[in-house]
């Protein structure tokens, strides 16, 4: 079976003026066609890098050390510039965090959309599909005249106009008001389901994930540490980090129970992590965790990166 997205052991460094920072330290993730996967992790966990890599959109400072990314069986690394542009146009869609910044400030919405989608259907229809009330007015408007929610709907309309196979949404609602968030996410998921588009939702908003994505992948220190069906991962986490993450979500704790924060800070890697990246913050860490890199272990339809998963420590 060909995967919609197949990221295999991806290692990416950012080369800064005075040092290297490792953003992905052997990350692996696969998605089936039409699947909606949430990629969850703190800032700096590498999820944005993974999302960008899915369209070969990494900035020039990024150095892809090893590993591979394939979309529908086609490895992106070796593609010609013309071919990767075609893949982006036909198979991929991206929605980013800053909705207004993602639009050209000097161009009316109608023109930008025409430019983005060529002559694939009516722009008015596209805007109506993302539930914008007054499409005519939006088309005449400049980006700064729109609210964040409206601008993000425009961004979604542009990203989905070609009915891509995969939509990568990088914190699409982080900049929006909380009421608008649910509404925008509902729109994205409804439209994607209708078109058979798979969604990779990058977020740290676990409550948004639980209702919408069938699968979730948790990232920590540039690796996917736990990957499985959302409900099971949240209700019975196998990786200590996932467990800590689940306990820090308001909706996941019983009334009167304290919300837990995870002690310590996420690591900033400069090269390959010697052992498990979470070992320094993990209550169950032993010598092996600090010195030996954990390998993916399959447990009950989940993939977990933890030496002690068999002991059921978390």
């Amino acid at each position: 079976m060909t995967h919609l997205l197949d990221v295999r052991d991806l290692v990416v460094d950012y080369v800064l003026a005075d040092r290297r920072v490792r953003a992905l330290d052997g990350a692996s993730l696969t998605m089936a066609s039409g699947e909606s996967v949430a990629l969850v992790g703190e800032s700096g966990s590498g999820k944005s890098t993974l999302g960008s890599a899915a369209g070969r959109l990494l900035p020039p400072s990024a150095d892809l050390r090893s590993g591979d990314i394939a979309v529908l069986g086609e490895s992106l690394a070796g593609l010609s510039n013309a071919r990767i542009r075609q893949v982006r146009r036909e198979r991929l869609g991206f929605v980013f965090q800053d909705p207004i910044g993602a639009l050209d400030p000097t161009m009316r919405i109608g023109r930008q959309m025409r430019l983005a989608q060529g002559d694939r259907g009516s722009i008015r229809d596209q805007l109506e599909r993302v539930r914008l009330n007054d499409p005519e007015r939006v088309m005449r408007a400049f980006p700064h005249q729109l609210s964040g929610g409206m601008a993000q709907r425009v961004g979604i309309a542009m990203a989905l106009s070609a009915r891509p196979r995969l939509l990568v949404a990088d914190e699409p609602t982080a900049a929006l008001d909380s009421q608008v968030r649910q509404d925008v996410l509902d729109t994205v998921f409804a439209l994607a389901a209708e078109a058979g588009t798979g969604i990779l939702l990058l977020t740290h908003d676990l409550s948004a994930v639980s209702r919408r994505c069938s699968r979730m992948a948790v990232m920590y220190g540039g690796r996917v540490v736990e990957d499985g069906p959302t409900a099971e991962v949240l209700s019975s986490p196998l990786h200590p980090y996932t467990a800590a993450l689940a306990r820090s979500v308001p909706g996941n704790t019983a009334r009167g129970e304290r919300l837990e924060s995870i002690p310590g800070r996420p690591p900033v890697l400069t090269s390959e992590s010697a052992g498990c990246a979470f070992a320094a913050r993990c209550a169950f860490a032993e010598d092996r965790c600090r010195n030996e890199r954990p390998v993916p272990t399959r447990v009950d339809g989940r993939t977990v990166l933890c030496h002690r998963v068999a002991e059921g420590v978390s």
Binding site: R85, G101, A102, D104, T106, M107, L115, F142
Partner: protein, 317 residues
């Protein structure tokens, strides 16, 4: 309507600026040491002669009266007569302005276009070697003074027959071919600075725009680099480039003194500088006021363009 209100406000503030400039020039000329009479009559003239000369030009009146008189006549296009040659200043400036205008246009228009194109190329090219070369060349072009570039040009073109004439200016109306042959070299010397300054600004502006999120978005949609530059980069990077281009142009309009001297061009710059050394109040005042007016006008045009380019400024609806 918005455009009208905007233009009216700009015009009003331009008029106010010009008034301020006129007061400043008028005052500054009177503060310069060495009276007019001494310069004209020499140090050996008798006090009576000096008094007579000073009185005949109205230089004994209170300074406010002098200023009012000047401004009043200046409004009618009369800037008085040169205190040295007794020729009408307006006529002299009028005959010299075309030379300066021609020099400005011939250096600014090609200079800005070439500079902008180079800047875009340097910014878009990923190759670090081209970028480094561009940086060195533009730094050199901006920092080399006109008298160095001009001096080298004069030497090369007068020592070896390279096709362009050094000096030998005739008005365009008399003999276009000879005029152009004489103007190309001085215009090119000025263009070195224009090209370098524009290229640098353009490169920085384009690089800034290339880091904007909407560029990433355009890339993620599979737009080609050329389409991105044409549709998203040019317009967004245009503003700083326009501002620099206008400043350079306005500066050239004020008279490229050194180049005019080097190539013996009868432009505004050399006229005004000569007048300063002779305390020729009328000429200096009129010349500086003209330069200021052109500067303000150029800036106004650019402000308007910037307003049209960037909808966030709310000039056009």
């Amino acid at each position: 309507m918005r455009l009208f209100v905007w233009s009216a406000t700009r015009l009003f503030s331009a008029a106010l600026t010009l008034l301020g400039v006129s007061i400043l020039i008028f005052g500054a000329m009177r503060l310069m040491p060495g009276g007019y009479a001494t310069i004209v009559l020499g140090p050996l003239a008798s006090p009576e002669q000096r008094a007579e000369l000073t009185a005949s030009f109205g230089l004994n009146d209170p300074i406010l009266v002098q200023y009012a008189h000047w401004i009043q006549t200046a409004f009618g296009g009369d800037f008085g007569r040169s205190l040295v040659s007794n020729d009408p200043v307006a006529a002299e400036l009028g005959s010299r302005l075309p030379v300066t205008l021609q020099l400005t246009l011939m250096s600014a228009i090609p200079g800005v276009l070439i500079g902008a194109a180079l800047g875009i190329l340097i910014a878009v090219r990923r190759g670090t070697r081209g970028r480094a070369l561009g940086r060195i060349a533009s730094a050199l072009g901006v920092s080399l003074p006109e008298y160095v570039v001009g001096g080298i040009a004069v030497y090369l073109f007068s020592r070896y027959a390279l096709g362009l004439t050094v000096g030998g200016y005739v008005p365009f109306g008399e003999d276009p071919a000879t005029n152009l042959a004489a103007m190309v070299l001085p215009a090119s010397v000025l263009a070195v600075f224009v090209v370098s300054a524009t290229a640098r600004t353009t490169r920085d502006a384009v690089l800034n725009v290339l880091h904007e999120p909407y560029i990433t978005t355009a890339v993620s949609r599979g737009q080609s680099p050329w389409s991105i530059v044409r549709h998203h980069v040019l317009r967004n990077a245009a503003i700083p480039v326009l501002v620099v281009a206008s400043t350079v142009t306005a500066y050239l309009l004020g008279g490229a003194v050194i180049v005019e001297y080097l190539f013996n061009l009868p432009g505004v710059g050399s006229y005004v500088v000569q007048a300063i050394t002779r305390r020729d109040y009328a000429v200096v005042q009129a010349g500086v006021l003209l330069a200021a007016a052109l500067f303000i006008f150029t800036n106004m045009v650019v402000d308007l363009l910037v307003g049209v380019i960037d909808p966030r400024l709310g000039v056009s609806k």
